[in-house]
């Protein structure tokens, strides 16, 4: 048995004139959480739909858990689950009915299906909402039900397409906990996301995808290192002190690292890590610069894109338009 859960090479898919996926290669280890990171329209969903056998690739090939996604589509479906970007539960049914339906479709008896549904509802904190129609669920509840629906039998591989987009921080944390629990249980997870911090929190490996191509690949650490750093954001009590603060930051972190903010009292500087950031802030204070607040952040997807492609992350369509206009 191959140690890879997903091996894709040269996957391609076009819709009319749009090359949605343009030669994607992936290698995902069994038992890992793998992040696919990319902006709107990068081709994440199209890639996932091909791997989950919902779309036939125009070119290239892929094996999922050792099965060819075209020749052995049925075997693939027997081992994977998909939680799509759009909620893929029936809104007219209750949460419990949704889970029972899926359990029946997977071959459980009626009694087994009911008890499995109740077990999942409890595990996902949905017992109280079990008999309500899904159309009355909050976004977070809907997401959890959607993921639960993918776990009626624990799959060997789970596709998760942007599971936290549009969720509040609390719901997002709940989803993250679910992904961690899945990883512990040995399930491989392919996670599409637009958030670097999500991939960083959860993934063992990340592929950055842009305009249908993988443009960078590695561990979260490697990726962040290639981007350079996170950023240190400082806001001063007195805007008059900004030139001085800028000089001090440049001395400590390098001339290129510092750029003034639109906010006349603020500065942002590229900063390798949290320790260095704290030291630099302490230096500013010792030098008499009065600080209103400061924050250390990870690089955003935008910064990753800036570093990897030299342009900000934007929707593919728009970029094409700009190029045509130019």
């Amino acid at each position: 048995m191959s140690s890879l859960a997903i091996e894709a090479s040269g996957l391609e898919k076009s819709f009319g004139d749009t090359k949605a996926v343009n030669g994607v290669d992936l290698a995902v280890r069994r038992g890992s959480v793998y992040g696919v990171l990319g902006p709107n329209g990068a081709g994440k969903t199209t890639t996932i739909r091909m791997l989950a056998t919902l779309l036939r690739p125009d070119g290239g090939s892929a094996r999922v858990l050792g099965h060819d996604i075209v020749e052995d589509a049925d075997r693939v479906r027997g081992a994977v689950s998909l939680t799509g970007q759009m909620a893929s539960v029936d809104e007219d049914l209750t949460g419990r009915e949704n889970l029972i339906l899926l359990a029946l479709l997977l071959g459980f008896s009626r009694a087994q299906a009911r008890s499995r549904a109740d077990e999942l509802l409890e595990a996902f904190g949905l017992t109280e909402a079990a008999t309500r129609q899904v159309k009355n669920y909050s976004g977070g509840m809907r997401r959890r039900l959607d993921i639960a629906a993918s776990l009626v039998v624990t799959p060997e591989l789970l596709f998760l397409d942007e599971p936290t987009t549009g969720l509040d921080p609390r719901s997002r944390n709940q989803v993250w906990d679910i992904v961690r629990a899945l990883r512990e249980s040995g399930t491989t997870v392919l996670l599409c996301t637009q958030y670097l911090d999500e991939a960083d929190q959860l993934a063992d490996g990340i592929a950055v995808i842009d305009r249908g191509k993988v443009i960078a690949e590695g561990t979260p650490g490697q990726l962040k290192a290639s981007v350079g750093s996170g950023s240190l954001h400082v806001r001063l009590l007195d805007p008059e002190q900004r030139p001085e603060a800028q000089r001090l930051l440049a001395a400590a972190l390098g001339d290129d690292a510092v750029h003034p903010d639109p906010d006349p009292a603020a500065l942002t500087a590229a900063c390798p890590d949290a320790d260095r950031g704290a030291e630099v802030v302490a230096e500013l204070i010792r030098a008499g610069v009065r600080i209103a607040d400061f924050a250390l952040g990870q690089p955003t997807l935008d910064e990753v894109f800036m570093a990897l492609t030299g342009r900000p992350a934007e929707e593919t369509g728009e970029i094409e338009l700009q190029e045509q206009a130019a």
Partner: protein, 281 residues
């Protein structure tokens, strides 16, 4: 940084345990047979009727209103007396009310498609046409409800079938079988069009004129000859004739055969088309 730990200070250990337990205890059962899968989708159809009964209201109220309106407004003028007209119109109204419900097969498949549920179903290891076949089961229940409502209203207004209950049931059975055939046309449309509303509008735009240009409301002998020729070959007329025949006890077997044949042709053409398009959706 400590923020990640602080964000759920009282994470209930019970919930986490429940999660781990739920993830462990899910052995994969033997695959569902095609029949099991279709039955599960049939059950879904029933649940939809239970949770969204409005879908039935639309399609039963309209025919009931037509019965009342035509019988009491035009009945005297068309057939001499309202009582006689009711005897003529009711078997045709049965046809109309059940055929109207078939449009919903297309509406519901389109709703699934736009909501993303289809992705989930298609990613399951089940017999791929199961959702479509299972939907037929739910449809049958809708057809039977629509048929029962119209026959009950007719009975209350004074309609009596010469052939008794047996004749009514035979007519209903034929209409249901015909509707299976017709519903494939609407599922195909449901997979082609952009929104459930578009399917609904286009569906009724097709079925409304076809129903009016049939013998459901008037005896075609009274029509101009070109129109009469069309009305006489309209499958809805033939189905209505058969339905009247069953209820009156003098059914022409040619009408029944043509109705069944039409259903078979519609199924042969549109069922494979629907299945293919569904798989690619």
């Amino acid at each position: 940084m400590t923020t990640t730990q602080n964000s759920h200070p009282q994470r209930q250990p019970s919930l986490e345990e429940a999660m781990h337990k739920a993830l462990r205890s899910a052995p994969r059962p033997r695959r569902a047979t095609p029949l099991q899968a279709a039955l599960a989708f049939g059950w879904r159809g029933m649940l939809k009727i239970k949770h969204v009964p409005e879908q039935l209201l639309d399609v039963t109220i309209t025919p009931v209103m037509f019965v009342l309106m035509f019988t009491y407004l035009f009945g005297g003028a068309i057939a001499g007396s309202t009582k006689e007209y009711l005897q003529y119109i009711l078997p045709g109204m049965l046809v109309m009310s059940v055929l109207f419900t078939t449009v919903y097969s297309g509406v519901s498949i389109n709703t699934d498609l736009t909501k993303g549920v289809v992705d989930r179903f298609r990613s399951l290891p089940v017999w791929q046409p199961a959702p479509l076949v299972g939907a037929l089961l739910g449809d049958t229940v809708r057809y039977l409800i629509a048929g029962t409502v119209i026959m009950t209203v007719g009975y209350i207004l004074g309609y009596r079938a010469e052939a008794g209950l047996g004749g009514v049931l035979a007519a209903l059975a034929l209409v249901v079988v015909f509707s299976f055939g017709l519903s494939w046309v609407f599922t195909t449309m449901g997979l082609l069009m952009r929104s459930p509303n578009a399917v609904m509008n286009a569906g009724f735009m097709g079925i409304f004129p076809l129903t009016f240009l049939s013998n459901v409301f008037v005896d075609p002998d009274t029509l101009p000859s070109a129109l009469e020729a069309f009305v006489n070959v309209n499958p809805i007329s033939i189905l209505a004739n058969a339905s009247r025949g069953f209820m009156a006890g003098d059914v022409a077997s040619s009408d029944v055969l043509i109705a069944l044949g039409t259903a078979a042709v519609l199924t042969a053409v549109f069922a494979p088309l629907t299945t293919r398009m569904y798989r690619r959706a």
